[in-house]
Symmetry: none
Subunit: 299 residues, 2 copies
């Protein structure tokens, strides 16, 4: 990481908002549902699947959470109408988890019920460690009721192997990613190679125990390890999928599709693009440097 | 590693003795049995176990070896009297291995017999490759007589996987560490990642074959791999323990205890702290730099 990148990472709140706005243009489909549906359509045409996400998190007003539920219902209707191959991803702190867990769970249940009526699927994103337990609790409850709900586990969390042991017995569907929130050492592995090794360990355990896995990574080494495990357990292409973020490494996307894998792209949209874009910036501070230099007319 | 650190490592004999003395303060419990027992008590109170070591090695006089045996006998009596959860670690070159192997073996047997009379345990430390064969020979002989004796294998040694195959069938108890002595390439793996990979391979083999393992490492990556293997083989917490050195990473100590693992801390004491401290310095040359700078009044 260059000195500039390090400065950007450690002083993220100081990154000018116009830079973050440029970053958002890269990683976010747009502010409207219409733009996101257009992106999903283009992805489908290229052979990729989509998971659509309404941006927003940490809401403290019930009305905001209820509006998000309504937006997800409209979204499922539009996906169905247009015959798109897309499911949705939801963040529980947008659906009211920080207000009241029961309120949030019933919001999730409404989204899952709508999905079920269309034969579709809901992914519950994982956020920071303050909500891991509650998120997995709600996942298990709603999965018990509707089945068409999946969760996310992060390989930087020390608890992840244990969490895999406690997944529902019936048709669990898990996205595995590294994790991007800043966590204390007692909770999360800190070293790059440890997080990677734990990704492989978790992926192995998930596949070995018959869990459908969304392999969410852009890391070539992990793609290689994933292909090794797919080969090792002779998994058919209906037993897993790769997942990537919008705006990241379209060449890798093409490669994975051409190799015959199913690949799903995360398509976020909406007006609350700031925190999501800051997390993307943390993953890839070089982007900020490019934007900054281009804006200042430097080459 | 900084240039300064590199210089310190390659010119260790030139490190001023006052610096090594400061280093010893960090890694050694004190010069007296009383100080070491106090350290063990504090460790027990924090939830950790101890293994107590009388410093000294490479003795050439029988009287020195015999004095060490007497010290270990007093130590076992004191551990018992105070109800401490502590065993001991012994170095065979302190118990006369370089004088005469039979003499040394009978010294070890006396220590093991004392331990057995208290239902306690003796760990035979591993030293450099000049004594590996003799150490394992004495381990097997005394283990055959008393049972309550364990050995150490080092993952930097090329022979380690083979040594695991030749462990006693009955209740073997092995500490696995990376190894710190300077060895020729024909005997030891040289690359950091190779030593790590062989640690994982050896740990896997030990666990797979039912050996009780003391997982002696401060390396986050190896802790992660160890937890993966514990999970993989569904080992109860009575089937292994983590081990760490006094003076190293107390935060990791706390994390491992809080995750429900048994953890034992190596507590060396005595007046012969020089060679032990030099080895610690080789592992962590930064410590010398800090001591040196602080002493010279640099900031």
């Amino acid at each position: 990481m260059s000195l500039f990148s390090r400065v950007v990472v450690t002083t993220l709140p100081l990154v000018p908002k116009f830079v973050v706005g440029h970053v958002a243009k890269r990683y976010v489909a747009g502010e409207t549902r219409e733009e996101a549906l257009g992106t999903a359509k283009a992805l489908n045409e290229s052979g990729a699947l989509a998971t659509m996400d309404v941006l927003g998190e940490e809401v403290s007003k019930r009305s905001k959470a209820e509006a998000a539920v309504e937006e997800y219902i409209r979204l499922f209707e539009a996906i169905e109408e247009r015959g798109l191959d897309a499911n949705v991803s939801i963040k529980l702190t947008l659906l009211g988890l920080k207000i009241d867990e029961t309120f949030c769970r019933e919001n999730v249940a409404r989204v899952a019920e709508t999905a079920a009526s269309f034969g579709n699927f809901v992914r519950i994103d994982m956020e920071d460690s303050s909500v891991t337990d509650a998120t997995l609790r709600i996942y298990r409850e709603v999965h018990g009721r509707y089945g068409n709900v999946g969760a996310v586990l992060q390989s930087y969390m020390r608890r992840t192997l244990r969490d895999i042991s406690e997944l529902p017995a019936e048709a669990p569907n898990i996205r595995l990613c590294k994790g991007i929130y800043i966590e204390p050492r007692a909770i999360a592995w800190k070293r790059f190679e440890t997080v990677r090794a734990n990704f492989v360990a978790a992926l192995d355990k998930l596949m070995r125990t018959g869990v459908y896995v969304g392999i969410a990574t852009h890391d070539e080494h992990l793609v290689c390890e994933a292909e090794r495990l797919i080969d090792r357990y002779a998994l058919g292409r209906d037993r897993y999928e790769f997942q990537m973020l919008l705006g990241v490494d379209e060449e890798l996307r093409r490669i994975l599709l051409d190799r015959g894998h199913r690949l799903r792209v995360y398509v976020p949209y909406g007006r609350d693009w700031y925190p999501y874009s800051i997390r993307r910036l943390r993953e890839n501070p070089e982007v900020a440097r490019h934007v900054m230099r281009a804006t200042l007319g430097l080459r």
